[in-house]
Symmetry: C2
């Protein structure tokens, strides 16, 4: 079982709002279509989600009490989810959409309802989740990132491996070489200053999240998805 | 707390495929906008869902293993859900969509994940669910009717009252008069022969479902939604 995250910046054109990078998405979908293992796909928001979240001042901690804001962010992410589910379907992946607004809520932590996801997996389908807005006790609704969903899903579906397909080929060291293995994120100098520029965290946050998962997780670029899905460990492995 | 079902045949034009009855829907939405109590809304499929379900041979017991079929039925129901959520929003209801494919699964019975719904209710939003297709252990995926969702939701959100807004003003007796109260469905002669003509059951099935809920449930027509929401018991009450 694999949990695969497709980064929002990889599948969208971040320079123009709500534009899918169809060429890259189709290429990634074909790689997924060739995979033999069961998997769950999660994708980020890229130029779809962040724009709306920013405009409404919503983040993973700052909530909104506006149903209009929830519907708008959720609908934008739904458009991107349609594109991802559709690209996977064209690559013969039995993809079905899973919308976190319907499947998760936050109180102290994120509570993801995994029974529907497991039910679909058991029947041979490939659930496709996305960064979204979810109900948050005492704060209205907040953003749940694709990375947070990966962290909740990996133990819930007992993933053997986790993969993050990102815009870079792995985690760079201070001399811009890809680090092969990270066992202790605190020892990685290049992660000292987070490059977080969006509402849902940058590379340092990703590595922290993956290090807590207690199963091997790889961070790699678009060119390495097929290698990862065939069992290799491209890019950076966090374990 | 109220669980309100808007019948699919009420909010769509059953004569033409995938056509919303905008006039009726807007009227019902305004009535919901005037309600004081917190509520969850569920709607049926009408001319959106049944058509696709029939074409793919999917019912609440006959499953499909085709992801194409799931996506198609789910997308059609999503279009109708968008229309209902949108009409409610225009009537100042803080409506948010909840998609059962993401929130429910079937094994022996229906397992609806209620934490996300409760989370949104607690924050003052109005979740809007719809009849849908859901994963079903051993059968791929099957149809979950709006009525089945009402039956699962009512205890889960501890509803004080349940209302089914239908195309008829209540349950008729054998002389076509509306029955005021039903305590024992088996004693109602007019329900002997079910008028079920769609994949999700007719009036006899509705009454059976409501009788099992252990809380007052009303079946009424479009003209009586405001009365029901203001605390009256129009149409037929099943208790």
């Amino acid at each position: 079982m694999i949990v695969l995250k497709l980064g929002g910046s990889v599948i969208t054109d971040k320079a123009s709002p709500e534009t899918v990078d169809e060429t890259t998405l189709d290429r990634l979908a074909r790689a997924v279509g060739d995979a033999d293992e069961p998997l769950v796909v999660v994708h980020g928001g890229g130029s779809f989600g962040h724009h709306h979240a920013d405009r409404h001042g919503v983040s993973s901690t700052d909530g909104t009490r506006s149903a209009d804001a929830i519907r708008e962010i959720h609908a934008a992410m739904g458009q991107l989810n349609d594109a991802v589910v559709g690209a996977l379907a064209r690559a013969d992946v039995p993809s079905v959409p899973i919308r976190p607004l319907s499947a998760a809520t936050r109180d102290e932590g994120l509570d993801l309802s995994v029974a529907p996801i497991r039910g679909l997996l058991d029947e041979g389908f490939v659930p496709v989740l996305h960064g979204d807005v979810v109900g948050h006790a005492g704060r209205g609704a907040t953003i749940v990132s694709g990375d947070a969903l990966v962290a909740a899903l990996a133990p819930a579906v007992d993933a053997d491996r986790v993969g993050l397909c990102t815009g870079v080929p792995g985690v760079y060291d201070t001399e811009d070489r890809v680090i092969e293995t990270i066992t202790d994120p605190d020892s990685v100098d290049s992660l000292g200053a987070s490059d977080a520029t969006d509402v849902t965290g940058g590379m340092a946050a990703k590595v922290e999240t993956l290090a807590a998962l207690d199963r091997p997780a790889s961070i790699f670029g678009v060119d390495d998805l097929s290698a990862f899905l065939s069992g290799e460990r491209p890019g950076t492995t966090v374990e």
